[in-house]
Every structure is written in structure tokens, then in C-alpha cells.
């Protein structure tokens, strides 16, 4: 006879493994939808029924709450794609910690990518690399994005590379989105920037509490 405690441990481990698999698939679907500029699909992956759902994108600010997240996605993906435009982010280096209680997960991916922008001179090849830190939350038997933070690493003309072309590492000086809040972190690569291990790798945890918010910005590597 297998004791109850042993079965409970096995059950918890099985469900955490399932979560690990499901979250990677979910993030893959979200990334594909983002690359294909399918705003509605991306939006559906957010936990928009939660008041503290959030999205932070490079130096475009932090968007807190369902309406602000929708507005941010609209800003990012609302315009139809122009001929020649492209963004192609890829997920690598997964670091995923599912809480012991199985209700949330803290995740980081490193995202190499390419892209193309278009202006009156034609299309221009780009490198677009970054990192993504995400809190997932399990709601109605689905993993949903609770908090997502995209960190820009490089965004540069392909022919110049990340040392010569710094023209795209910071946003242009136009008005911030009216629903944006100040960014928590923006440190793209430049000849004068210093790398400091952010977003950090998530650490094992029991359950998500208020103090876990912005765990990805921790500089304490102990």
C-alpha cells in the first residue's frame, strides 16, 4: 500500500511538470502571435479579468490593469503590418519556476530575433534581441499572462550591428502613451552600458506573495 503523502508528492510533481510543458507551449503561441501581429490572439493570453494584470515593454513604460494592457497592445500591434515589415522573436534559454502550490509561475526567456522596418527608402533589416520575464497565473484551467516585461537588449540596423547603431535602443522623443507608468528598468546594450544579470533567473518558491512582484529585477544573486 502506497502511503498518502507519497502519492500527494507525486501528484504535485506531475502537475508541476504538466505546467512546465503547458507554459512553454503557451509562451510559444504568444510569441508566434506577436510575430504575426495577431493582436487579439495575444490579448486573449493575458489575464484581463485581473485588476493587476500588467505589461511593460522596453522603455515604453509600464501598463497596469486590463484597459492599460489593451492600450499597450494596441500601440504595439494595432496598426496593420506594412509590406516589408517584420518582427521575428524566438524563445531560448527557458528558466521556469512553477510555485509549489501550482497556481503561478515565474519565467524568463532570452529572445534572439530579427526584423525589418519600412520607410520611404524601402525595407531595412534589423537585429531585435531581448529578454522576457513573465508571471503566469493558472485561471480556469488555463495558464494566463499575469505580468509580462520585455527587456530590450539590442535593436539595430543589420548592416551596422549593435556597437555602431544605437539609434533604436531608446524610444524617440514623442509623448509617452497616456496610460503608461514609469518603466522599472531599461538597460539595453550600448558601448557605455554595464550588464548586470537582469532579468535574473527565477528561484524556487512556494506561493506568490506581494513581495514577489518585480522579482525579475533583483540584483542579489545569492
Amino acid at each position: 500500500m502506497v502511503e498518502r503523502k507519497r502519492k500527494e508528492n507525486l501528484l504535485a510533481a506531475l502537475n508541476r511538470l504538466e505546467a512546465w510543458h503547458e507554459i512553454q507551449n503557451e509562451m510559444g503561441r504568444i510569441t508566434a502571435a506577436f510575430n504575426f501581429k495577431q493582436k487579439d490572439v495575444v490579448e486573449n493570453h493575458f489575464a484581463l479579468n485581473l485588476e493587476d494584470v500588467s505589461l511593460e515593454y522596453a522603455d515604453e513604460g509600464r501598463f497596469e490593469g486590463p484597459e492599460a494592457v489593451k492600450a499597450a497592445l494596441d500601440q504595439l500591434m494595432g496598426e496593420p503590418a506594412k509590406p516589408g515589415e517584420m518582427i521575428d522573436l524566438q524563445l531560448t534559454t527557458p528558466m521556469i519556476e512553477v510555485a509549489d502550490d501550482g497556481q503561478t509561475a515565474k519565467c524568463v526567456w532570452w529572445c534572439p530575433g530579427i526584423g525589418a522596418s519600412v520607410d520611404d527608402k524601402g525595407a531595412h533589416a534589423l537585429w531585435i534581441w531581448g529578454q522576457i520575464a513573465v508571471d503566469f497565473i493558472y485561471l480556469n484551467e488555463k495558464w494566463k499572462i499575469w505580468h509580462l516585461h520585455y527587456f530590450r537588449l539590442i535593436n539595430c540596423a543589420y548592416e551596422k550591428g549593435w556597437v555602431e547603431d544605437l539609434s533604436r535602443i531608446n524610444r524617440v522623443n514623442k509623448a509617452m502613451h497616456p496610460q503608461s507608468l514609469p518603466s522599472t528598468y531599461h538597460n539595453p546594450y550600448s558601448p557605455l552600458s554595464i550588464r548586470d544579470g537582469i532579468p535574473c533567473a527565477p528561484r524556487p518558491y512556494k506561493t506568490y506573495t506581494e513581495k514577489d512582484r518585480y522579482w525579475e529585477l533583483s540584483r542579489d544573486k545569492r
Partner: protein, 223 residues
């Protein structure tokens, strides 16, 4: 999908035991991927000597702990700014042994770097390679036993990987010959046929190469 206790109640003791073993080994694959991701984060971070959790099995028999720590503390550039070592991990192959205490893995990586040794304008570098290695479970936690970067290409961005090979940055600098004996041993050379190293670990790797220090699995698919 969530498993329930009712699902497990359908299994007999032997089946539970088998499932536990399988689950434990899959959890290990997950934890080892997290471990190597964490190592990639620390590798990019420029703050050498800062207190940080230990990812290597420093107390494992045969590990040169002092050598590892000394290597880590050595500054190889004057400036913090402008330096970057982004080696994303892709293409994972991880094999955990039956006892769930030892694991081998190989990752491939397509990365980018910035290098400024003495505050000069940094060099943009394309950095391609692999991360082969062995891992051991110490006090319930997976640690890196050995294995680090194996270079395929490290080239000045504009020059490309056929024309440019930047040696590993050390003090004093390595000669090209010294570099080819070290991290550059299996790096691309335009006049050479590529060697198939490291091979990813096979599913029977631990039967064929039971010693965790053995590195022959990287060069021989089968005994």
C-alpha cells in the same frame, strides 16, 4: 491538464514506483535547464567577485574548487561598460542516469558579444558555440560538475566567421596556436573538415560511460 488523486489511485504500487522514478528524472531535466540558464545569466553579468549562489559542485570529489574560484575572480578587461556575453541556449539534449544523481547535456548557442578590453570602442562579435557538460545532484540540488563554452565561431561582426576568429580574451593574450588548443579547439577553420564534437549524449550514455568525469561520450557515439 491537471492530474488528480483518483488518477493515481488507479495505479498499483509497482506502477507508482515507476512513475515516481520517471517524474523525478523529468524534474531533473527541467532543473538542469534552469541551472544552465542561470549560468548564462551569471556569465553575461559583469560584476566579477560579487556574492552569488554557487552553481558549480565545488565540494564534489575531484573538483578543483580553488582553481574555479580564482579563474572567476580574474578581470580580463579594464572596463565594465561595453562588454556583453549573450550566449542563448538552444537545442538541448539532456540525459539523466537511472539513479537520478548524474546528468549529461549539450546545448547549442547562437550568441552575440561586445568586447572592450581597455576602454576602446567595443568590438561587436558574433559568438557561436556549444555548451557540453556533466551535472551532479548535491544535497538535493543539481550543480554543474564540469563543462563550459566550446567555440564554433567568434568573429568580428562585419568580417564574418570565415575571415575572422577572435581568440578567447585572457591576460596575457593567447597566441592563435594556444587558442586553438583551448576554447578554439573545435572552432571553425576554412581549410578543415569539421569534427563532430561534442556529440549529444545518447539515451544509453550512462550505460556506456558510467563515470561522470569521462568525456569520451562527446566524441564517440557508441563504444
Amino acid at each position: 491538464m491537471r492530474w488528480t488523486m483518483e488518477d493515481l489511485d488507479l495505479l498499483d504500487e509497482k506502477e507508482i514506483h515507476q512513475l515516481e522514478k520517471r517524474v523525478d528524472r523529468l524534474m531533473s531535466v527541467w532543473q538542469i535547464q534552469n541551472l544552465r540558464g542561470n549560468a548564462a545569466v551569471f556569465h553575461d553579468d559583469q560584476h566579477i567577485g560579487e556574492q552569488r549562489r554557487e552553481l558549480n559542485a565545488l565540494n564534489y570529489p575531484g573538483v578543483d574548487a580553488e582553481g574555479i574560484l580564482e579563474f572567476r575572480r580574474k578581470p580580463v578587461v579594464d572596463s565594465l561598460e561595453g562588454n556583453m556575453l549573450i550566449h542563448p541556449l538552444t537545442t538541448p539534449v539532456v540525459e539523466v542516469d537511472e539513479s537520478n544523481t548524474k546528468a549529461r547535456g549539450v546545448w547549442w548557442s547562437l550568441g552575440i558579444e561586445g568586447l572592450s578590453i581597455s576602454r576602446e570602442i567595443p568590438t561587436a562579435i558574433i559568438s557561436v558555440g556549444m555548451v557540453p557538460g556533466a551535472h551532479v545532484k548535491v544535497d538535493g540540488e543539481w550543480k554543474i560538475l564540469w563543462g563550459a563554452w566550446q567555440r564554433t565561431a567568434k568573429n568580428e561582426y562585419h568580417a564574418g566567421w570565415v575571415e575572422s576568429m577572435i581568440p578567447t580574451n585572457t591576460r596575457p593574450p593567447l597566441t592563435p596556436e594556444q587558442d586553438r588548443q583551448g576554447f578554439g579547439r573545435y572552432a571553425y577553420q576554412k581549410d578543415r573538415v569539421r569534427k563532430a564534437v561534442p556529440l549529444p549524449p545518447e539515451s544509453d550514455t550512462w550505460n556506456n560511460f558510467p563515470d561522470e568525469w569521462d568525456q569520451n561520450w562527446m566524441t564517440k557515439a557508441h563504444l
